[in-house]
């Protein structure tokens, strides 16, 4: 009996100790995993996903512990060695280490020996084995406003030209009908009265007859029509080569091969204009970025807030990039043909760097509020009148410009009181023909 009790107590005691131990060790394990998560974010997250298959620079780590072939070592030991110094393992000829090395394009992983202790590595491994962390609000696709509005929505608008043509056709039919009705009625009346039938005149003959009877009216009418015609031709000439509607202040806004949104990139994500148009401060062209610049970010960002993967895949198609393996294939490149929105004819010289660097003109002065455009649109007429007007009123940015520091000071002293001292671009030759046409 006594024996029996003591045995059960002993059992209970052991059980309690065991559960207690399991419980505390569980707490410890959680602590470890938490620390591991922190370390992972700091050291590994730039190249590895901890709980998915997605390949970044290195492979995704979901299920690594299942796939590792550690040979005679235990898996944990193998992983620890690999994490601390993968190069050493590759050189030592470990079969699986070399397989990983070759499978990942012979890119070596950073060596963490000296940076991470054995305990750190154990924590990291605990984190990888444990459940996936709950992701914060920044998971890429879910952030940012999605209601950017579909840019191509014209509604059911009828071309005014078709409307006019339609009216003309209807009028012509009506006119013909009236004419024949009138003719047959008059002929009927004539026959009843016993008169001769009207001669069957054509429309043109009738018109001529009418016109010869109303010469003065026709003359005045012709002059008015002629004048209106000339005026509208003259006005139409103003629109030639101008991709801008003066009345609605709307410009050329072509559909591009990719539905790229400046609002999303420059507006919401605050990427500077110069990041992509990087030659704007160095050359006459602001430059349309080549696809490698898209890839600088889109190597990682594979899905957008509005079109998900659809539009971004077009970049990959252009670059010959496979997002799954993170590799490029030169043979699969398909260049993008962007459509130039701001297009000056070749007989005009315009230099971006001169305006932006020396003139200190903001991008928005000529291009409008690009940060709010889903589709890039021409916001200035880009006519010569527009250039000249700006050159007439814009003052030269002299501050901080060593060249003008000296010259301007000297001129001011020399001509003190003789001239007004507002130095517009015009005053330094901004209206000379050969400044832009040569």
């Amino acid at each position: 009996m006594k024996n029996h009790i003591s045995r059960t107590t002993a059992k209970a005691l052991i059980a309690t100790i065991f559960t207690l131990f399991a419980f505390t060790s569980n707490i410890f394990a959680q602590e470890n995993a938490k620390n591991g998560e922190k370390l992972f974010k700091l050291n590994c997250a730039t190249c590895h996903k901890s709980h998915t298959d997605q390949k970044l620079t290195g492979p995704g780590l979901k299920g690594v512990f299942d796939r590792v072939q550690s040979g005679s070592m235990s898996k944990d030991e193998w992983m620890k060695k690999w994490i601390l110094n993968n190069e050493k393992m590759i050189k030592a000829g470990d079969a699986y280490a070399n397989k990983i090395f070759n499978d990942n394009g012979k890119a070596t992983m950073s060596v963490f020996e000296g940076q991470l202790t054995d305990a750190d590595v154990a924590d990291i491994m605990a984190f990888i084995k444990g459940p996936a962390p709950i992701e914060g609000p920044v998971t890429g696709t879910t952030t940012g406003p999605t209601a950017t509005g579909d840019p191509v929505d014209g509604g059911t608008k009828v071309e005014p030209l078709y409307l006019i043509l339609g009216t003309i056709v209807i009028l012509a039919i009506l006119l013909g009908a009236f004419r024949s009705v009138r003719n047959s009625m008059q002929n009927a009346a004539n026959r009843a009265e016993g008169k001769a039938e009207n001669p069957d005149l054509t429309f043109w003959q009738e018109t001529k007859e009418w016109m010869s009877g109303h010469r003065r009216l026709v003359g005045v009418f012709a002059i008015v029509i002629g004048f209106i015609g000339m005026k509208s031709c003259w006005d139409a000439c103003y629109d030639i080569g101008v991709y801008y509607d003066w009345e609605t202040q709307k410009g050329y806004k072509p559909e591009q091969p990719i539905k790229f949104s400046h609002k999303l990139h420059a507006g919401d994500n605050e990427i500077a204009c110069q990041y992509c148009h990087s030659s704007v401060e160095k050359s006459r062209h602001a430059g349309i970025p080549s696809v490698n610049i898209c890839m600088n970010c889109h190597k990682g960002i594979q899905s957008g807030p509005q079109y998900a993967e659809k539009e971004i895949n077009k970049i990959y198609n252009a670059a010959g990039f496979d997002p799954k393996t993170q590799t490029y294939d030169k043979k699969k490149e398909n260049p993008l043909t962007w459509i130039k929105v701001h297009n000056l004819p070749d007989h005009v010289y315009f230099n971006h760097s001169q305006h932006v660097v020396v003139g200190k003109i903001e991008c928005t002065t000529c291009h409008g509020d690009v940060k709010s455009m889903t589709v890039a649109e021409q916001k200035a007429p880009l006519t010569m009148k527009w250039c000249i007007e700006c050159h007439r009123k814009t003052e030269v940015a002299m501050e901080g410009n060593a060249y003008y520091d000296r010259l301007h000071k000297a001129l001011k002293e020399k001509y003190a009181g003789q001239y007004d001292v507002k130095f517009t671009v015009e005053k330094i030759g901004g209206l000379e023909c050969a400044k832009c046409h040569y």
């Binding site: 006019i164 009028l171 008059q186 009738e206 509208s232 801008y244 990427i271």
Partner: protein
């Protein structure tokens, strides 16, 4: 009677003429997808090859933008001696030194800051903590500069030039000089420790600096 009909006819005819005129003038109204009428279109769309797109040579469609021919150097660019490999990375880490020494560090840091604001801030964040808006959307966000103290100036330069991991290459956007200015600024963001370490190292091995000038 006849006169009455004639008036109607006159009205119709003049309406017709007026509408034709209106039709002509409205032809010029803008379709946002069309550039409209161009006088001398050759001047707007030149016959020479545009570099964004393709052209056909001997029946083969080719990309117009090309890499420089082997052995040549694109205008405005300097060749860079270290290859985009692990060995190149290590060699640059060990040997490459900042050649910009003509002016004080502060001057370069200032210029670097401006460049940083245009080329790096959206990923690395204003303080270099890796908290830029784009950086946060990358699957692997950039590390805080302060946490990676083992960067030598050569390593920073190499990483800007070729990129690293999720960071793309920036050689096509930045000249070497600009990249070196950025190195100064990145070191500033790293905190005083890193900058001091590199200056100390530079003082010990001044001769290697020449290697950077390729």
């Amino acid at each position: 009677m006849n006169k009455h009909y004639k008036t109607i006819k006159f009205v119709f005819a003049s309406a017709l003429v007026g509408l034709v005129m209106a039709g002509f003038t409205s032809c010029g109204k803008k379709d946002e997808n069309s550039p409209g009428v161009e006088f001398m279109p050759d001047m707007y769309r030149s016959n020479s090859l545009e570099y964004y797109g393709t052209h056909v040579v001997d029946g083969v469609t080719e990309q117009t933008a090309k890499e420089p021919v082997k052995g040549t150097v694109a205008r405005g660019f300097l060749p860079y001696a270290y290859p985009n490999t692990k060995d190149g990375y290590d060699a640059a880490t060990a040997n490459l030194k900042n050649p910009l020494t003509a002016q004080s560090r502060e001057v370069y840091e200032k210029e670097g800051e401006v460049l940083y604001g245009k080329f790096c801030v959206h990923c690395h964040g204003a303080s270099g903590a890796g908290d830029g808006k784009v950086g946060a959307k990358l699957p692997g966000p950039p590390p805080a500069y302060g946490s990676i103290q083992n960067l030598t100036e050569g390593k920073i330069f190499h990483s800007i030039t070729y990129g690293k991991g999720m960071m793309g290459q920036h050689a096509s956007q930045l000249t070497q000089e600009e990249r070196w200015k950025l190195v100064y600024y990145v070191q500033k963001l790293q905190g005083p420790k890193a900058a001091a370490a590199d200056t100390a190292k530079a003082a010990v091995t001044p001769t290697v600096a020449a290697a950077a000038n390729h």
